[in-house]
């Protein structure tokens, strides 16, 4: 690996491992009075936080990097892992850089976690972000517009200044650039997965959780340029797979590496979904808050926490497989994740109708044993290659 790329990878790794949010502390310390707002996965309108001059920080739990000592006392064994590691991070003061927390409507666990936060941290700004499940502009759209405006009022209070439409429009543009850079990264990975292995691209996307979007966009561009200059990454024949179920609690990085070592190139995924935002750019002209509201209705990425009003449940997954020329799908969901696991039988049905092979396993963010997964993914990879050669 060339030194420039190695340096970038090291930086992304450091950000990934930084459970103390040092980068956020640095950003805040650089200018007096700066504020940062945390947000759980999946979707919050980060543009509005940015427009108020605050840093949106996406919180993805503690992964496999922290030991859970007190967090387990808050959750029964049959609840997924991310809320317990998130509580652990907060009560061990690793979230001291955050001036508030947003809890987007994703599932009942995150919903209830918002109330737990209100009780545990009464001096902190805490808000549940109730996204609409009705996608008609005059119904769900009006509701969401109201929610967005009220979020903006909250943010203005937090920063003691008005947040104007121009600020919002500017932030939308900043995030449009960021989304374009992410889309480019995904396109390049799909075209040349051996040059852009997911275990690496993941780190660069994940850096967007703590970096200001302008800086993140720049980092993504530096990374893609550096990889294109790389000469050592030879084409390697592996199977092309899409992974699904990873939109909230994140798989450990070692799991992504395991899949690659087992012969699977991940060519599309729903990792870190909240950092992608939408399938396309958000309109800039006109009322920017309304544009953001409409974007959620019309450009939102289909996922388990979003109602599918049409009869084509699973169509987006099938389309992704076709678009990325994938040979199979790996359902890779956190244990006890109701949305992901309830979605699975419907998505499987859609894949089977389309004749797309699939396999499935569960993980926790702190899973440490990958032997069984490696074997299963290896067998799957071999079988789909045989299948596509047949």
């Amino acid at each position: 690996m060339r030194p420039a790329l190695a340096e970038l990878v090291k930086r992304a790794e450091r950000l990934y491992e930084d459970v103390d949010l040092t980068a956020v502390h640095h950003w805040k310390d650089a200018v007096a009075g700066r504020r940062a707002l945390g947000a759980m996965p999946v979707y919050v309108p980060r543009e509005l936080i940015h427009a108020a001059g605050m840093l949106p920080v996406s919180v993805f739990g503690g992964g496999d990097q922290i030991e859970i000592i007190r967090g387990d006392a808050y959750f029964q064994s049959y609840i997924c892992h991310i809320p317990r590691s998130t509580i652990e991070l907060a009560i061990t003061r690793r979230f001291d850089a955050l001036d508030g927390m947003l809890f987007p409507s994703t599932c009942d666990v995150i919903r209830n976690l918002s109330g737990m936060w209100t009780m545990l941290f009464p001096n902190l700004y805490v808000r549940y972000v109730d996204v609409p499940q009705n996608f008609d502009r005059s119904v769900g759209g009006e509701f969401w517009l109201h929610e967005l405006r009220s979020l903006l009022d909250d943010f203005a209070r937090l920063v003691h200044r008005d947040v104007r439409d121009e600020d919002v429009a500017r932030s939308i543009e900043v995030y449009n650039q960021n989304r374009r850079a992410i889309r480019d990264l995904y396109r390049l990975r799909s075209e040349r997965p051996w040059m852009f292995p997911t275990s690496e691209t993941y780190l660069f996307l994940r850096a967007g959780a703590v970096l200001p979007p302008e800086e993140h966009t720049q980092l993504l561009q530096q990374y893609t340029d550096a990889v294109m200059d790389e000469t050592e990454r030879a084409e390697l024949d592996s199977s092309r797979v899409v992974i699904v179920g990873t939109f909230c609690e994140q798989p450990p990085l070692a799991l992504l590496r395991t899949l690659e070592r087992a012969g699977c190139w991940i060519v599309d995924d729903d990792l870190l979904l909240g950092l992608h935002g939408f399938v396309d750019d958000v309109e800039i002209s006109g009322d920017p808050v309304r544009n953001l509201a409409d974007a959620f209705l019309e450009l939102g990425i289909p996922t388990a926490s979003r109602y599918e009003p049409g009869p084509d449940k699973g169509a987006a997954l099938v389309a992704s497989v076709q678009r990325h020329n994938a040979e199979g799908v790996i359902f890779c969901a956190p244990s006890f994740c109701d949305p992901a696991l309830l979605d699975q039988p419907m998505l499987i049905a859609a894949l089977e109708r389309a004749g797309i092979p699939h396999t499935q396993f569960k993980y926790a963010e702190n899973t440490g044993q990958f032997g069984a997964i490696r074997e299963q993914a290896g067998t799957f990879s071999d079988s789909i290659r045989l299948w596509s050669e047949a």
Binding site: P83, V109, R111, T118, N134, S138, A349
Partner: protein
């Protein structure tokens, strides 16, 4: 509170148990409903599948449709010891062992021919009315059912009361969905037009029944309590949480029940249990969380054998917080339905849930509280360990925490 008696002293012998009029009436109501469901096709009545929390029973009735409530099927399958088989059936078909067993019990029952509690096949839905109130799983449940039936789906997204208040724009949002999504689909399915007058009449009957229902719940403030507000409570909520709110039969049931309960108060009688009247109330308890249905009787017995009476519970509020003052208001028919949907217990933020339970402990002079944490239900369960701590701190009385499941027999052990 009366002095404690010998532990383990059973209530009056089972032979003495006489069926109260309200029990007979409820049995008849349920039987008639299932009968009506079995005749629905012949009589040209349309069937709506919908959920218990935040249900739109009055609106359904105003279109002359009949509701089927999958959760009720699931809990009845649990009580009839059929749920274990249904759940394995669903798991065999690819449903995860980790998810809500109500969903799997329903899917398993469907795969086994959709035979209802009376042994007759339930009619297929003409409309899936997905009211997303208080639980995210509902949304997935009906996405799953939609794959099985060829009928329209009406989605009603009910915003969450995170801060414990209902905001005007949330009411507008629900009303708009009723107008643009739910009512048009009901009109399309039934060929009738929306009849607001008929809806108002129904809402008036709801409010009358709600008044009597609250009197029944609040009778548990008496010492001794004339009712068990959890194990007995699940029977009392039956009609009002399901197909009978807004009907004259529902009004009659709650009037009869209230009369009986008031008579018990006058006579200083305790609750009726499956083994007779509990005569010496020893310990007053508040319970948070749904019951276990597969071992419901066994579970109840553990309490009444120790002369423990549940005086208030949150489960009996999943279909509305009438005791906190909500009444259906016929003068604002759609708005009242919206507020009803939003006000159900599991649609409340955790701080509001803690406040409510704390109030129950005080108002009902409880000696302790119990959290029955069910594996299936993240909506109830996520955060319950913090609820336990908060309640202990705020009330100074001891709390206990147990884990079971709703309808999965693998998760019940008396130990």
């Amino acid at each position: 509170m009366k002095p404690a008696t010998r532990r383990g002293q059973a209530p009056a012998a089972a032979a003495d148990v006489h069926k109260e009029d309200s029990m007979v009436l409820q049995k008849r109501l349920i039987a008639e409903h299932y009968d009506a469901l079995s005749r629905a096709r012949d009589e040209g009545k349309k069937i709506v599948y919908t959920f218990v929390p935040g249900n739109l029973t009055e609106l359904i009735e105003s279109f002359d449709m009949l509701p089927v409530l999958p959760e009720i099927n699931a809990l009845q399958s649990g009580m009839r010891k059929l749920s274990g088989g249904y759940i394995s059936e669903a798991e065999k078909a690819g449903h995860s062992e980790d998810v809500c067993t109500y969903v799997k019990c329903d899917i398993g029952m469907l795969k086994k021919g959709n035979v209802g509690p009376t042994g007759k096949k339930l009619p297929e839905p003409d409309l899936l009315l997905l009211s997303y109130t208080g639980c995210f799983t509902f949304m997935k449940w009906f996405e799953l059912l939609r794959q099985e039936y060829d009928c329209p789906v009406a989605m009603l997204h009910v915003p969450y009361q995170a801060d414990g208040r209902i905001h005007p724009h949330q009411v507008d949002y629900v009303v708009q969905q009723l107008r643009s999504e739910v009512i048009p689909k009901m009109e399309e399915v039934t060929g009738r037009t929306y009849d607001e007058e008929r809806l108002r009449k129904s809402l008036e009957r709801s409010a009358a029944a709600e008044e009597d229902f609250v009197a029944v719940l609040e009778s548990a403030r008496n010492v001794p309590s004339p009712i068990d507000a959890y194990f007995g409570g699940v029977y009392y909520i039956g009609p009002i949480f399901t197909a009978f709110r807004g009907t004259q039969a529902g009004v009659d049931y709650y009037r009869t029940l209230r009369t009986e309960v008031e008579a018990r108060v006058r006579e200083g009688l305790g609750p009726i249990t499956p083994d007779g009247v509990l005569e010496r109330e020893r310990f007053r308890l508040v319970i948070e969380g749904p019951p276990n249905w597969t071992s419901f009787r066994e579970f109840w017995k553990m309490f009444y054998e120790e002369n423990v009476v549940v005086v208030a519970s949150s489960y009996t509020k999943v279909g509305g917080l009438y005791d906190r003052g909500f009444r259906h208001d016929a003068s604002r028919p759609l708005e009242t339905l919206a507020e009803y949907c939003m006000g159900c217990y599991t649609n409340l933020g955790l701080p509001s849930r803690v406040e409510l339970l704390e109030r129950y402990v005080r108002d009902y002079k409880a000696d302790g509280f119990l959290i029955n944490s069910v594996k299936s239900c993240n909506s109830f369960s996520a955060g319950q360990l913090l609820i336990l701590r908060q309640l202990e701190e705020r009330t100074g009385i001891p709390g206990a925490f147990i884990e079971t499941d709703l309808v999965d027999p693998r998760y019940f052990s008396a130990a």
